[in-house]
């Protein structure tokens, strides 16, 4: 048995009502798991771009991509993890920021190339982009105990170099 790994699957989907529900429904129906899911229209408004991360061994992920390809509205699909790629996730995070913490959080955000995008007397809201690991590392660095709320977009990904996913 090959090992279970995280895969980033990127899909060009017809931008039609019901198309997304077929993708999500497929995962539920066949017992595959979705770790993250992002979807938005592309520059060609007839298409949506969808990125999902899932965990499974090679055979499982092969089945997932084959089953996704069976959906009529899936126009193109690539498993980004099979080649060099860039992945990014955006996180907005509210942290308790009082007294000395305020400067410390700002410094840490700078190190992670985050920005403080909103300030109140006791709370900073930081915006951070990066890989999933980097976002986790930031939370670790500021200390999970001062985190009040987080929201993440889920992974978006694109392959490196000349390779493009288009019609």
């Amino acid at each position: 048995m090959s090992q279970s790994q995280r895969h980033i699957i990127s899909i060009l989907l017809e931008n039609e009502p019901g198309a997304l529900s077929r993708v999500v429904g497929l995962f539920a129906q066949r017992g595959y798991n979705i770790e993250t899911l992002t979807v938005a229209p592309t520059e060609d408004e007839s298409l949506s771009r969808l990125t999902m991360t899932t965990v499974g061994d090679e055979g499982k992920v092969e089945q997932i991509t084959k089953q996704l390809n069976r959906l009529i509205e899936v126009v193109k699909l690539v498993n980004l993890t099979e080649g060099p790629h860039i992945e990014r996730e955006l996180m907005l995070i509210k942290v308790k920021a009082v007294g000395a913490q305020r400067a410390e959080i700002k410094r840490t955000a700078d190190v992670f190339r985050g920005q403080v995008v909103d300030i109140s007397s006791s709370v900073y809201t930081v915006q951070l982009t990066g890989t999933t690991d980097k976002l986790a590392a930031f939370i670790e660095a500021i200390g999970p105990s001062c985190v009040l709320e987080t929201v993440r977009t889920g992974v978006s990904g694109i392959s490196r170099g000349e390779k493009v996913l288009s019609l």
């Binding site: 017809e14 009502p17 019901g18 529900s21 077929r22 429904g25 129906q29 055979g59 092969e62 089945q63 084959k66 089953q67 390809n69 069976r70 009529i72 509205e73 899936v74 126009v75 019609l167």
Partner: protein, 574 residues
Amino acid sequence: MELLSGGDMIVRALHDAGVEYIYGYPGGSLLHVYDAVYKQSHVKHVLVRHEQAAAHMADGFARATGKAGVVMVTSGPGATNTVTGIATAQTDSIPMVVICGQVPSHLIGDDAFQETDMLGIARPIVKHSFRVTNPVDIPDIIAKAFHIAETGRPGPVVIDLPKDMTMPNERFEYNYPKKVKIRSYSPPQRGHSGQIKKAVDMIMEAKRPIIYSGGGVILDKSSDKLRELVDVLGFPVTNTLMGLGAFPGTDERFLGMLGMHGTYEANVAMHHADLIIAIGARFDDRVTNATNKFCPDAKIIHIDIDPSSISKTIVADVPIVGPVGSVLDDMLSLIRNTKEQVDEEALAGWWKQINDWRPRHGMRFDKNEDGLMKPQEVIQAMYQATEGKAYVTSDVGQHQMFAAQYYPFDEPNKWINSGGLGTMGFGFPAAMGIKMNFPDDMVVCVTGEGSIQMNIQELSTCLQYGIPVKILCLNNGSLGMVRQWQDMNYEGRHSNSYMESLPDFIKLVESYGHIGIRVNDRDELPQALEDTFNKYNDRLVFLDVRVDQKEHVYPMQVPLGSMRDMWLNKTERT
């Protein structure tokens, strides 16, 4: 330029798609469409008595012809009543177009009267679905629905049709597309030549080869090519439950069906094979038994149009994605043009071995000398009476397996059963769908007293349209297949598998205007069959044949075992 209302467009587009019959049931959301049906005579509507039967009728037609069957039902309960029929078609890859009424667009989402999210309900059991959001799109959507349903790996397509899309006084330009193009849908047209070459190399080296073919051969109308391949190679062939008839059941090279209730020789030959050529079959769990013990020595060539069927349960050594027919063509021309030869000597030894296996079980069963008939002998008698030429549909249970085992099919598309979903209630309406389209052929539904009651209301439809199917009810007074499992695994505790208070089927069918014949003894059977197929040729005949309740279906693979682990009768195991 032609202006039509949405309702008229539906009927007109069906006509342009080549549809003769639609099977359905009216209701509020579809009244405009039903009015359009009334005003023309090209497309004929068959009124069933329950929407599930409409789906199975369309399915039976589709299985016999390869063309999509058409179902039309109203919103809400009409639509949900078709769910079992749609799922049955999906599991066996049967083309079907289901037009479901829907409440008017402005009411969708408001829990309106007879509103149900049919697209949502049907999503996991369709190949695709559409909602009409503009009447102008109707011809296009219908054309796409047929295209999707019938090409690639076939399957059912649902069209959700809000009532306001069909208003009689709103007319739109009608254009039925000559060609359908869907940019995100292009089923494979040819197999990969490199893979086909690899397969042929393996075929030439094989010592103990076997061809394992399934419903895909029938769906792609390629049984002549399968036969050609076997003629050229001389390899043994086994068929799945869905593939019966693709290769002649009476041919010497046919080992019978494989799998859970397959023949001894088919299952043992699979187990010992060094090469399995899987053609349009999907290594279903009812075929493989435990996958980790599956055919330990075999290399596997797997031809299928759907890549997701390949290496799903059993990993293929040479996967070939493509239509069965075209791949077989390419294979045949390669085999004919290569200098290599199949290993005749090894093959002769393999055949000797197989022929030694054949008599071990030989599909023998013991007749009760004075007692009740065995179901097997009834199927054999029916085979004789129909000279093996009938369309045989079946329901689900022991009778289904006996029909598959004891009625050898020499032609494809003649054995019609719900193999994948195992839907009781399928057989009778499926037979009706076939008989309407093949009025001159014999169509027999083999059923049990349990299954037939799941759609028995269709006796009324048969009276209305004069559909003289023959119903052969192997009446064992129990849910036999359930009872068999209870005998084998639950120490004979027959929990809810006994059919108490059965109706008098003879009186029942007579009350619907048909003919019923009861057969209690062996002596009565020949005359009953004679009357069924000759004297009452143009009538629906219900043969209620009493058979031994204690009989089990054998061989039967031992759960969690390999292909060759089987019970051969109640006491003997391999």
